[in-house]
């Protein structure tokens, strides 16, 4: 059966990240999760697969830690999952990640559509989707907020600044979707139990014809620092609610907000 491949990233759960007083960031207690926007990408693959009678599969590139993601991804519906496991994922940039995913897509084969999220919830660099498409020489539609497949053609609505654009492309193609493309449902009990019975395939880099040197990043993250926004620290302390509202409105006017 033809496949629709949803790519996802196992990211650090931002809820567990702690910012120390001097602005350094502590990841030590943080757990992983599937990047929030990728949950929509997986759901988009599920819906697309159903509409054209294809099989949705999930694909990720990650370190050993990403093993935890496989069951979660499968819980969301895909028939099977693929995981390129390499410690190089830790430092991979968009180019390296796209190279790995493109080779994995070739290995999986027989695909009609590849779906990525517009960006990952940790870096939001928006590179991986377009770069995979370029490597595989596929038409690519980004910023997709809705799409439909008819025969061999995908018609997608892109969201631009203050308007939308409808774009058509022939399949196979790659789209990168915005979270508003669908509402990713919370998996039910049977979906969770089913996931335990599905197949997961692990690839090493050499299985997809790559070496560590191939995935060496060309951009390097040197430092993480917390960005501290200066708050105005205005406390509205009038006695009655009416006066509080007056004071609030006056403050907002002063700042030109209203």
């Amino acid at each position: 059966m033809a496949k629709i491949i949803a790519c996802y990233k196992w990211v650090t759960d931002e809820a567990d990240i702690r910012i120390n007083s001097e602005g350094s960031i502590d990841f030590s207690k943080a757990k992983g999760k599937i990047s929030d926007y990728d949950k929509n990408a997986i759901e988009a693959a599920m819906q697309a697969a159903q509409s054209i009678g294809a099989s949705a599969v999930a694909l990720t590139f990650g370190t050993a830690k990403a093993k935890l993601s496989l069951k979660d991804a499968l819980t969301r519906g895909p028939a099977e999952s693929f995981w390129v496991c390499s410690e190089s994922a830790e430092k991979a940039d968009g180019a390296a990640t796209a190279k790995v995913l493109a080779e994995a897509v070739k290995k999986i084969g027989d695909y009609r559509l590849i779906i990525c999220a517009e960006g990952a919830s940790d870096t939001y660099a928006r590179q991986v989707g377009p770069r995979i498409a370029a490597r595989l020489d596929l038409p690519c539609i980004t910023s997709v907020r809705g799409f439909e497949i008819q025969g061999d053609v995908i018609t997608a609505t892109r969201k631009l600044d203050n308007r939308t654009e409808v774009v058509k492309a022939g399949l196979p193609a790659l789209i990168s979707v915005l979270p508003e493309v669908n509402e990713a449902p919370i998996p039910g009990l049977k979906a969770v139990l089913d996931a335990g019975k599905k197949r997961s395939t692990e690839f090493k880099l050499q299985d997809i014809g790559l070496t560590d040197a191939d995935v060496a990043p060309r951009t390097e993250v040197r430092d993480f620092k917390a960005y501290i926004m200066n708050r105005k620290n205005i406390i509205i302390s009038a006695d009655t609610n009416a006066d509080k509202v007056k004071e609030l409105v006056a403050n907002l006017r002063k700042d030109g907000v209203i």
């Binding site: 702690r18 028939a79 919370i186 998996p187 039910g188 009990l189 049977k190 979906a191 969770v192 139990l193 089913d194 335990g196 019975k197």
Partner: protein
């Protein structure tokens, strides 16, 4: 593509009760499904916490030694607070909890502990499905045969309700009534980060040693008390209030708790720490006297907090260990008795055999003492006043202690007769 699933046992809730039960069942080859509404086991749970480790070893010999625990408790403290004053009692025995004897209790963080414990059950073959809430039971001819979660029905030979205090499942099965405001407390708790060396120096601890501390007189006269446990790199500080008294009191739990944090005896212990977690949870305050007549029905057993297995004596709070022991009793009953209609009485028998019911009965008298309203306000005042007189040296002729005490009794709106009555009740109850 969903298949139909059927298990020997479905357990609702991955707290200590549910996991201990799942562990024992899986170890004995039963196909077991645990359904937990939190995204990970422990993610929704709030506890003090201290765990009495005998219970883990009862689940499996040697389990306590490898468990995800914080510090072994070597200091048992009681602090009586009144206004800005306090009286601290610190029981320390260095041989207590020493290497050769198995340490009897450890402080724990539930998010870490529950996840570790659940993984242990998974290693033995149990399935733990997280992020799923059980909505109800499936009954056939008055017998429970499965559970409903969202749109899914899953069937099992037996269902175990381990969904904690105020168990909706046990209520739906008609085994317990809706929660009674005098029989539950609301607990609030913060986890406050501090470097381990700071904790060790503030509490006078060696590495890995920990303190457990219960506080009286910090609830504005409401039936309840405070607690503090030292973890490796954090302090768990919290307060419990019985719900019906709180309702009429007028002040917010949060405000009373803030005052406890700022108390001159408590603040130096947590100073400079960062609060990383705030939680609130109910805790059963009922004991044996409110225990359900029948914690089971055909095809269903009720364990842990859902059945009310909590002991609160004022100087100790036990729920996690009892939850585990009840989970083991349920599992043993299921292993011994194949017929889901006959397993209930076998479960009751197991609860007797592993001493859980006798323990609940033995300490039931404490609830009589804890119902004396005076111990939450007048008695702490009386005690603090007494110490004040005892330690005051001002060059004047000291009054006789007898007179001082009489004065204090009067001053605090008490009478000698009341004191004698309460004392008598105390002695009778324990």
């Amino acid at each position: 593509m969903s298949k139909d699933y059927a298990y020997d046992a479905i357990i609702i809730g991955a707290g200590p009760a549910g996991i201990a039960c799942a562990y024992t069942l899986a170890k004995n080859g039963k196909s077991t499904l645990v359904i937990e509404r939190g995204n990970t086991p422990g993610s929704k749970n709030v506890t003090g916490g201290r765990l009495y480790t005998y219970a883990l070893d009862m689940v499996d010999e040697g389990l306590a030694a490898e468990a995800a625990l914080e510090r072994k408790v070597t200091h048992e403290q009681i602090i009586i607070l009144d206004g800005n004053r306090s009286i601290s009692i610190d029981y320390h025995d260095p041989s207590f909890n020493s290497e050769c004897k198995s340490p009897q209790s450890y402080t724990i963080l539930r998010a870490v502990f529950d996840e570790w414990f659940a993984n242990k059950a998974v290693e033995l073959g149990a399935t733990v499905a997280c992020g799923i809430k059980v909505d109800g039971l499936i009954e056939k001819n008055g017998q429970v045969v499965g559970v409903v979660a969202g749109e899914d029905n899953i069937y099992a030979g037996i269902v175990i309700a381990a969904d904690g205090v105020n168990s909706l499942i046990a209520q739906k099965a008609g085994l317990i009534s809706d929660i009674k405001p005098h029989a539950v407390g609301v607990g609030v708790k913060e986890v406050i980060l501090l470097p381990s060396v700071t904790i060790e120096s503030r509490f006078n601890l060696k590495k890995d040693e920990g303190a457990s501390c219960l506080m009286l007189g910090c609830t504005e006269g409401i039936h309840g008390g405070g607690f503090l446990y030292t973890n490796r790199e954090s302090i768990s500080l919290g307060c419990v209030f019985v719900v019906d008294e709180l309702a009429g009191h007028g002040r917010q739990v949060h405000d009373i708790f803030q005052e406890l944090k700022m108390h001159p005896t408590i603040y130096p212990l947590i100073e400079g720490g960062e609060t990383v977690e705030y939680g609130a949870h109910l805790v059963s305050e009922a004991g044996y006297r409110e225990f359900p007549k029948k914690p089971y029905k055909d095809g269903l057993l009720v364990i842990g907090d859902s059945a009310g297995f909590v002991i609160s004596t004022g100087y100790s709070l036990r729920g996690i260990d009892l939850a585990m022991v009840s989970g083991i009793a349920a599992a043993r009953a299921i292993i011994a008795e194949k017929d889901p209609v006959r397993v209930g009485p076998v479960y009751m028998n197991e609860l007797e055999k592993n001493l859980l019911m006798p323990t609940m009965k033995a300490v039931d008298g404490y609830y009589d003492i804890l119902e004396i309203p005076r111990i939450y306000s007048s008695y702490p005042k009386l005690a603090a006043g007494l110490f004040e007189k005892l330690f005051t040296v001002d060059g004047k002729v000291p009054r006789s202690m007898k007179k001082e005490i009489r004065g204090l009794i009067k001053q605090n709106g008490l009478s000698a007769w009341q004191l004698i009555k309460d004392g008598f009740r105390g002695v009778k109850s324990i």
